[in-house]
């Protein structure tokens, strides 16, 4: 009796209600009987398993705390004055909450340079992100659906370059662009980031798996040209892949620091990542002598929030991108 209830119990607990054959059930029963010392008592969670269960949640909790605490700390810090930062506990408010004063101070300092950084970051990310993804989509569509001279060469070069990080190219780029007199312009930051071998690699995979060749051929026989086929057939099918690639490209440009740091010298052209570092260096600046910690931390929080919101709302897309092998840091 006890052993059959055990098996039934197990069957109803399992989420997939697959039917087990007799052989499996017998085996299961034999093992469980052996485990329970042959006395036939129902076995739910053994004490070791209970301890493991608690341990599991404890480790998970520690990991979550590790990931969250710095962000919570940043949120609290943005509510404090420069003095409050040093005189209050890191994970609680100071005596006075000056969050809005900090925001205003950050946005009005030096004729609103922070606002310019924010706009620059957005402009660079949108132009380079959308541009690189669009170019990669065009090429990916062609490689997946057409045969032409140079197709295999392009495929090979892409495979070679897809895992080479852009930082390797940064100094050569700077040398070339400074020779051409193109440094100190936003173009020097945008143009190099339009080239995205990893994005092309992703788009080729997406195009090859999601565009049925027979459909393209049928349209071609009906007299549609490649332009019509792209907009009417390929792009709608590629939309999820497009969004995923775009998202990763946007994050890549948003996070880029090396390229704008070396290319730009006018503070008003900087993106946020480089700009905030300028404020960090103000301690050594003869005019200020003080590092505006409250502005830096509030500015950091404001820079992070849009990305956190984007990630939360676009979960579906980047998660599908991750499982399709979209890995880039």
């Amino acid at each position: 009796m006890s052993s059959t209830s055990l098996i039934n119990n197990k069957a109803s607990r399992s989420s997939s209600q697959r039917r087990r054959d007799d052989r499996l059930a017998r085996k299961d029963r034999a093992i469980r009987l052996k485990k329970a010392g042959g006395n036939g008592l129902p076995v739910r969670l053994t004490s070791t398993q209970k301890i493991l269960d608690v341990l599991l949640h404890l480790i998970m909790l520690l990991m979550v705390i590790y990931c969250l605490v710095p962000l919570i700390w940043l949120a609290f810090s943005s509510t404090k004055t420069n003095e409050g930062l040093y005189s209050s506990p890191g994970l609680w408010f100071a005596d006075s909450n000056v969050f809005f004063e900090n925001v205003i101070e950050a946005f009005t300092f030096e004729n609103g340079v922070y606002g310019r950084w924010l706009v620059n970051t957005l402009v660079y990310a949108v132009i380079a992100g959308v541009g690189s993804t669009l170019f990669a989509t065009f090429a990916g569509y062609a490689i997946a659906t057409m045969k032409f001279h140079g197709r295999n060469a392009l495929l090979w070069v892409t495979l070679i370059f897809m895992s080479i990080p852009s930082t390797v190219i940064t100094v050569p780029l700077f040398l070339l662009y400074s020779k051409m007199g193109m440094t100190n312009t936003p173009l020097a930051v945008i143009i190099p980031q339009l080239s995205n071998p990893f994005g092309l690699y992703l788009m080729i995979i997406y195009a090859q798996t999601s565009i049925p060749i027979s459909m393209v051929e049928a349209a071609r026989i009906d007299g549609a040209n490649t332009w019509t086929i792209f907009w009417k057939i390929a792009l709608p099918l590629l939309a999820p892949g497009f969004v995923t690639t775009l998202l990763f490209a946007l994050v890549g440009v948003w996070n880029n620091y090396f390229l704008p740091l070396i290319m730009l010298s006018d503070v008003r052209d900087y993106p946020l990542t480089v700009g905030l570092n300028v404020w960090m260096k103000m301690g050594g600046d003869a005019t200020y002598h003080v590092v505006p910690n409250n502005m830096i931390l509030t500015g950091s929080l404001l820079a992070v929030i849009p990305l956190i919101i984007a990630f939360l709302f676009l979960q579906k897309y980047w998660q599908s991108g991750l499982s399709a092998g979209a890995v880039k840091q």
Binding site: L24, P172, L175, P192
Partner: protein
């Protein structure tokens, strides 16, 4: 041929159009037009700069008479440069610590999320990922405040136990400070890659092992991890690349600890200093190419080892 390479590199194995349509196709030259925008930016953004850097590296600036052709002198000097090797050494140590630690923690987190034992699994899943939304430089900036011994969060936590916090931005601990920042930013990201690979596994694979009474650890070690090894290889590869190319975090840390983070702290920081100070652009070009070449060699070796493991 090319298809095989794509398949071994990616999680999804794609079909080449040649396989999808066995009929002899006529060439569509218009395909080149579709690739043109990409090819132009790729040439301008990657290939031409590299060729130009190589060209620059062949010359030497002289006190009198401008530039002189110097052959491979700059490149040989770069390969022998002790400052460059100092940087390589440091990022190698960094990678040897960071990559296994990151892989272990992310795998552990992913397996725990996948074990079906964690309640409300969606919540820790998204919370672990949140730090990835923080740009690396801003993460370094935040942590440099948190590391503060006297007033930072670190100092406050240690003060609870009436202890003095270790100086994380000292010469001895700086590498650990940077490893921590990198793990904080990317652990959740790696976890999600593993987790989504685990989710893609058919449950039949380990259901019978579970019925046979295999422990969850045993299932994880003998079934789950071997099944997702292509994801593991990929993340290890990217983590190694990232370690070799370390720039953002040390560049940021240089602001608060200039005496610890030298101008040659990592190979990339070194090429940056050489190029930006502008004293010897020819040499800077040569060093940047040597760094790039070295990175490519390491990438190929790791890829080869990874492929071997995957084929097992």
């Amino acid at each position: 041929m090319s298809t095989a390479v794509v398949a071994s590199d990616g999680v999804v194995s794609p079909q080449a159009p040649s396989e999808a349509s066995p009929r002899k196709e006529r060439l569509q030259h218009i395909g080149m037009i579709w690739c043109l925008p990409y090819v132009i930016v790729f040439l301008g953004g990657t290939i031409i700069p590299m060729i130009y850097a190589f060209y620059l590296g062949l010359f030497k600036e002289q006190m009198i008479g401008g530039e002189r052709f110097a052959g491979m002198t700059n490149f040989i000097r770069a390969i022998k440069d002790p400052l460059l090797w100092n940087g390589f050494n440091r990022v190698a140590i960094y990678a040897i610590i960071e990559v296994p630690l990151m892989t272990f923690l992310s795998l552990l987190a992913a397996l725990m999320l996948d074990s079906q034992r964690i309640r409300h699994v969606a919540i820790p899943r998204i919370l672990l990922f949140l730090p990835y939304a923080v740009p690396n430089v801003i993460a370094a900036l935040m942590w440099s405040y948190i590391y503060g011994r006297d007033y930072g969060l670190f100092g406050q936590v240690f003060a609870l136990f009436h202890a003095q916090a270790p100086n994380m931005i000292s010469k001895e601990l700086m590498l650990w400070a940077m490893i921590n920042i990198s793990i904080w930013v990317s652990m959740g990201y790696n976890t999600l890659i593993y987790y989504s690979s685990l989710k893609a596994l058919p449950e039949e694979l380990y259901e019978s092992a579970r019925v046979d009474g295999a422990s969850e650890f045993r299932i994880a070690w003998s079934i789950k991890i071997p099944q997702i090894r292509s994801s593991v290889v990929m993340t290890i590869l990217f983590n190694i690349i990232y370690s070799l190319q370390l720039f953002n975090t040390p560049s940021m840390m240089q602001t608060i600890a200039p005496e610890v983070v030298t101008s040659y702290y990592t190979p990339n920081l070194y090429t940056y200093s050489l190029a930006f100070s502008g004293n010897d652009l020819n040499y800077a070009a040569a060093v940047s190419l040597v760094v790039g070449l070295f990175t490519m060699i390491i990438i190929s070796v790791v890829k080869m080892l990874g492929n071997r493991w995957e084929e097992k």
